[in-house]
Amino acid sequence: MIIPRVPVQHRRLLPDRRLSGPTPWVIAILMMLTLLAAAAGVGLARSANAIGSAIAGRVTVQIVTPNPVTRAEQAAALRRAAAAQPFVLSARAVDREELQATLGQWFGSADGDDPVLNSLPLPALVDIDFVGENRSRHMQELRALVAAEAPGARIIPHAEWLGPVAQLIGSLAWIAGALVILMTLASAAVVIMTARAALGTHFATIEMLHLIGATDRQITRLFQRRIAIDTAYGIALGTAVAAALLLLIGWQWAGVTSGLAATASLGPGGWALLLALPLLAIALAALTARQTLLAALKKIL
């Protein structure tokens, strides 16, 4: 049991004041940071997975033939030929307007009337998604197709330029996971110090209880209960603050609909993990306190 049952009369063997002083507050801060790190880790991991799966099977063929008419014909021919291939899931020619709109964000004009933008010799782009996982073979087949339909065109696998970003996000997710583990260990260390301090403070009472026949189990349950309750207060406080912060961030995040940021979310599994962490933390605190107390009591006859 996480918080052991102790008869009311036995609870009074420890004074009413909290044993641990600042412990609930330290645990609250650690719990809040743990939950925020866990939320960041889950969000980043999901983002990395989403980006990875989105870019893994996609390539863009860039046709740079100088003649704009020939360039457009090659793009159309390549799209048609690619769409007919069994290894291609979908093939789409990117409209010139779409290209100009994208570039317009960098030129400072999104309405398409920028004379500089209109004068630029933009390449024709064809986005192609592969079927299945055999991507190296599909790339060979695509190269042959491109050589036939649009000689000189360049094939750009999205994984080449977005892959490092996905890897970075994945690394950040692992770092967040490591932070969760470190803060969990720090929380356990705080509980151990609290248990040892409680034993030191109440050594005379413990010695007296021993001498009148109290068992280690009886004494341990008293302290374990008190430490678990103190820790639970801290965990509840830390969880409440973290939940408020996550809801605030989530509310602000809801307005972000473009780019990589839009791929970050917690999902049901992430929320379940965040809800489970405080309960696991209470269980860990109670177990740590119990083992610390038992180990310390064994040193007393």
Binding site: Q9, R12, A204, E207
Partner: protein
């Protein structure tokens, strides 16, 4: 499992044989201590300050294992006994400490009730005995007082009540009358004597020579520089066991 509730028929309740005790690397504070305590007997332990009385009592109430020798209590070897079995033996021993060792945040009533609660006695069953004990030690009207608000003598009475409330088989008292007036000392000694008549073996460490003279048939153990002075051999070979 051997029944530790009672010593072997005809056997000693407590047996010390060649016991020595040292703290850390220092010289022994007790050396070659050998004696037997018979069930239902009354013993006084005397000796100058620093002679080792408290150390000897600590081994009697199982707060300390000897460095060497054999200690048997209720017929069982305590030197090699696993520590998880010790609480069961401790519940059969009542201890009155020289410094009382009352739990400061508990009332007099709760301090006295402690051994019964630890032994698992229900609240309904312990209120009667605790109330009687409070009345007997003259603190019936101060049941809810905390130790800090009690005088030294009152604290000592509470400590004695706590030691005897569970009717121990062995009562060990370290200077139990050091802080009470002569009248209360007489009453407390009367309680020890009454318990002794009921079969409790009593060991009282004291400097008070008048106290010793008040108990008939009490045997005296004298410690001198960590060694037991037993010129007559009465402790090692008590009259009841002699051929």
């Amino acid at each position: 499992m051997t029944d530790a509730a009672a010593p072997r028929p005809g056997g000693a309740m407590v047996e010390f044989d060649g016991v020595g005790l040292r703290y850390g690397p220092d010289a022994e504070v007790l050396s070659d201590i050998s004696f037997n305590l018979q069930p239902g007997s009354f013993y006084f332990l005397t000796g100058a300050s620093g002679a080792g009385k408290t150390s000897l009592l600590k081994m009697l109430y199982l707060a300390q294992r000897p460095s060497r020798g054999i200690v048997r209590l209720f017929g069982e070897d305590l030197v090699s006994m696993p520590r998880q079995r010790l609480p069961g033996f401790r519940r059969r021993i009542g201890v009155v400490f020289q410094d009382f060792r009352l739990i400061p945040h508990l009332s007099a009533r709760d301090n006295i009730a402690l051994p019964l609660r630890i032994a698992g006695v229900g609240e309904d069953d312990l209120s009667g005995p605790v109330g009687e004990m409070l009345s007997w030690i003259g603190l019936g009207d101060r049941a809810e007082a905390h130790p800090a608000t009690l005088s030294g003598g009152e604290q000592q009475r509470v400590a004695i009540a706590r030691a005897v409330i569970a009717r121990p088989q062995l009562l060990v008292a370290d200077e139990p009358t050091g802080n009470v007036d002569p009248e209360m000392a007489t009453r407390l000694l009367g309680l020890f004597e009454a318990l002794n008549r009921l079969g409790t073996t009593v060991v009282v460490a004291t400097h008070d020579i008048h106290l010793i003279s008040r108990i008939e048939n009490a045997q005296m153990m004298r410690l001198e520089k960590g060694r037991l002075a037993d010129p007559t051999g009465a402790l090692r070979y008590p009259p009841a066991n002699r051929a």
